[in-house]
């Protein structure tokens, strides 16, 4: 039985202590969860293990031997396999090339495509993954499939310690089940599995023990059987929480603002019709890849579509994102760092970038008007920052997502398409974003809200459309919105009311 021991680890980034005298031990043969809010130090701990950063003081021991990890290659050689949240796949190489990159199939300098393709198929078979042509280029894969390949890539290197950093966030429910089973199997083979996720359900299903971090400090380790969600949340937050999600607001009949009629988009959407009412939070659910992203993209003018979109009864044409913004439609994407923000630029520049015209006088930006309006938005969204001239890259994930929202509020858009905006955001900030969304709805914004987390849809939305196989399988009204109904509709089953 081996043991991975973290001893008095401290790691600072500038003035911020990401890890503060952290100690913890993880034994082999267990699935061990790391739990904490964003910024609690989980990812720093993982970065220390994977060689992305070096520790300041303290030590990491594996089987009573000191691990000296300064580069990723040291980590790999020490038998650690890390499934990265942002993925370590090469987009221009094929599946099989990625699986055997730097994990060469034999001693030869020349690599036989036949051999690696054969081995790839064996790997799919061994781990019970739906077969994909090994010659497919990674960039042509869906995010969920990329995530699966990333997991296979790491497992194939046969590491003693497997680190899964939010590996389930991009997966469909079915694939999550697959991964959880895989974790259990690895643990029974005597491997150490370190599992990071924000979803308590997954942690309580698969993990043996859970270690909670807060503000870079060790809070405690619990046997999963001897604890419950409330206790874990309390440990994470350091305070009691009245309820996990805010109350759902119910509203009287409203007039519809956006009407979608027979919207089709190539192979991805087939005659979708629904309407979005003024001041409504309309949820979009269903398993990943049922056409949700095509729906959001076409409403933001990023995909060509057929069918009608009517705004206040008038037909509008959405040819590109500029058209969409002109009509007051904004899309907040899931990946803030690559799609939502200009990372090197400041909070100020990121917020005002789509509304430059309205803050200019005779074509010259007016700093005064700009600051006034930004300050208002910062107050409204409770964005935490000491100066608006700080780069957005220095902010936490939740705050960054608020900046993306702020950008579109400043542009006075009134239809917000929120696509999985809480992805990778911790519970505390999630709550805050929920109440912001509810406030936006109260002030007359109409919101189309997609989430992979059914609990979110149940608590937040007044109506939920569930998508299945490129179409809407069900539109659920307030009383019918519950987990069971959404799940049933997601897999295309009939719901009896």
């Amino acid at each position: 039985m081996g043991e991975l021991i973290f001893k008095n680890i401290t790691k600072s980034f500038g003035a911020v202590r990401a890890l503060d005298n952290f100690s913890c031990s993880i034994s082999s043969g267990e699935v061990h969860a790391l739990l904490g809010e964003n910024g609690a130090g989980k990812s720093t701990l993982i970065k220390l293990l994977s060689g992305a950063v070096k520790l300041d003081t303290g030590s990491i021991e594996w089987n009573k031997k000191l691990l000296n990890i300064t580069k990723p290659i040291d980590s790999i050689r020490s038998g650690i396999g890390t499934v990265y949240q942002e993925l370590s796949l090469i987009p221009d190489l094929t599946i099989s090339q990625n699986l055997f990159l730097n994990h060469w199939p034999n001693k030869s300098q020349i690599i036989s495509k036949k051999i690696i393709n054969q081995k790839t198929l064996e790997l799919f078979n061994k781990y019970n993954v739906d077969v994909i042509d090994p010659d497919v280029i990674i960039s042509d894969l869906s995010l969920a499939s990329k995530q699966t390949i990333e997991i296979l890539k790491i497992i194939n290197r046969n590491p003693e310690i497997v680190v899964l950093d939010e590996a389930t966030s991009a997966l469909s429910l079915k694939k999550v089940e697959w991964l959880l089973l895989l974790c259990k199997k690895l643990a029974t083979e005597g491997k150490t599995v370190i599992f990071i996720s924000h979803r308590l359900y997954e942690i309580s299903t698969v993990c043996d023990r859970v270690t909670v971090l807060r503000n870079g400090q060790y809070i405690g380790t619990k046997n999963i059987k001897e604890t419950n969600n409330d206790e874990l949340i309390q440990m994470m937050l350091g305070r009691k929480m009245s309820s996990y999600y805010p109350e759902r607001i119910k509203s009287a009949e409203k007039e519809s603002i956006l009407e979608v009629v027979n919207l089709s988009c190539g192979k991805h959407l087939n005659k979708v019709s629904f309407d979005l009412k003024k001041g409504e939070i309309l949820g979009v659910g269903g398993l990943a890849g049922q056409g949700q992203s095509a729906l959001f993209l076409s409403l933001f003018g990023m995909l060509r579509y057929t069918g009608d979109v009517k705004l206040n009864g008038k037909r509008i044409i959405l040819k590109n994102s500029y058209n969409a913004l002109k009509n007051g439609i904004a899309l907040v994407p899931e990946d803030r760092s690559t799609q939502g923000l200009i990372n090197d630029k400041t909070i100020r520049e990121n917020i005002s970038i789509v509304s430059l015209k309205s803050i200019s006088k005779f074509g010259v930006l007016s700093g005064k008007i700009e600051e006034k309006r930004i300050t208002k938005i910062i107050d409204e969204l409770n964005i935490i920052c000491d100066r608006i001239d700080k780069p957005v890259s220095s902010m936490s994930g939740g705050n960054q997502q608020k900046v993306v929202l702020g950008k579109f509020l400043m542009a006075e858009t009134n239809i917000l398409l929120l696509f999985d905006v809480t992805r990778g955001i911790d519970v505390g900030t999630k709550m805050e974003i929920f109440s912001i969304i509810q406030n936006l709805a109260k002030t007359g914004h109409s919101i189309l809200y997609y989430s992979t987390d059914i609990d979110e849809l149940v608590t937040l939305c007044e109506r939920v459309i569930v998508m299945y196989d490129k179409n809407i399988s069900e539109i659920l009204n307030s009383s019918a919105i519950n987990k069971v109904n959404i799940l049933k509709a997601s897999v295309g089953e009939e719901i009896d009311f």
Binding site: I90, S145, H268, M302, P333
Partner: protein, 323 residues
């Protein structure tokens, strides 16, 4: 957009027109040329074209490797010029001179790689400086076009085997070499670094050593280009490389190599070289004055790249993703 990724699709668009485009353009140009001047449809003429294209082919081949890895090497021209100047002036055993020039090419590549990686300076800056330095050194060896090239080298480079010029065999060799590189550890690593350097690093690839190797191979190819050129012409030139630097980049790009790295092929670059070499003849036979050549070369470059970029933007708007 990333959220496209959840869109389901069964297969990628096929065939890959962007890869075929340069081949189609080359064939079209060739057909036009044969129509204008039927005599060009002969082994003799095609042999001359191969001879003519060979030095640039080697230059573009080296350039392609560097471009795939996400870099760029402007010093290829300097290495080529210096090689011809050394060959034309050094009065030693020709084999020793050839070995010296090859070593010089490799050394230049290693120095490029070292500076780029260790001092973290952009490749375009480092290799621009290196090109200028080597250009200067070439003039120290040979102050103007001329000098004497060893007779044996000259006769080897202009020789024919089975009535087919040597250049044809060397081109074939280059194609075979590319097939090997593409399917080697070296090739995989090169594509990986150009496509996503951070991911390659996280996979445990030694970025430093790999890049140095790539630049060294590029230097070696440039020296070979110089040897071939000097051998064919029979004299040296301290400035021959200069015109070929941007042509080597352009030929690679026409052949489908991406300037942002991760994509490309030497076979494509070879096609690109032929397109450039043939277009001047087409214009000549069509009776168009030769100063139109550059204009047409530029148009071809933009059209080729535009067509393949149009293709990929159609592809991305169609949202084809595999689940």
């Amino acid at each position: 957009m990333n959220i496209l990724n959840s869109v389901q699709a069964k297969k990628i668009l096929k065939p890959k027109w962007s890869n075929l485009m340069p081949v189609l353009i080359l064939i079209a140009l060739f057909i036009i040329m044969v129509i204008l001047q039927p005599k060009t449809f002969s082994l003799y003429y095609i042999g001359i074209k191969f001879d003519n294209a060979l030095p640039l082919m080697f230059l573009a081949a080296g350039q392609t490797l560097v471009l795939i890895s996400g870099g760029i090497d402007l010093s290829v021209g300097g290495v080529m010029s210096l090689t011809t100047s050394m060959l034309a002036t050094m009065q030693l055993n020709p084999i020793i001179v050839i070995l010296l020039t090859l070593m010089m090419g490799i050394a230049v590549g290693i120095i490029n790689g070292l500076i780029i990686e260790k001092l973290n300076i952009q490749p375009i800056i480092v290799t621009l400086g290196m090109w200028t330095i080597l250009g200067g050194v070439s003039f120290l060896f040979l102050d103007m076009d001329g000098g004497v090239i060893n007779d044996t080298l000259h006769s080897v480079m202009t020789s024919k085997i089975l009535n087919i010029p040597l250049s044809f065999y060397l081109t074939a060799g280059l194609v075979i070499l590319w097939y090997l590189i593409k399917n080697s550890r070296f090739g995989y690593t090169m594509f990986a670094i150009g496509s996503n350097e951070k991911a390659a690093y996280c996979t445990g690839i030694n970025i430093f050593a790999s890049k140095i190797k790539i630049y060294a191979v590029c230097g070696l190819f440039s020296a070979l280009a110089g040897i071939i050129y000097a051998g064919q012409i029979g004299s040296g030139s301290p400035s021959v490389g200069n015109n070929n630097i941007l042509l080597s980049v352009a030929a690679a790009v026409i052949g489908g190599t991406s300037l942002s790295g991760g994509r490309g092929s030497i076979t494509g670059a070879i096609i690109g070289v032929f397109i450039f070499k043939i277009i001047s003849d087409v214009l000549l036979f069509a009776g168009i004055p030769s100063f139109w050549v550059q204009l047409f070369q530029g148009i071809i470059l933009i059209v080729c790249v535009a067509l393949s970029s149009l293709y990929s933007s159609i592809k991305s708007r169609a949202g084809e993703q595999i689940d």
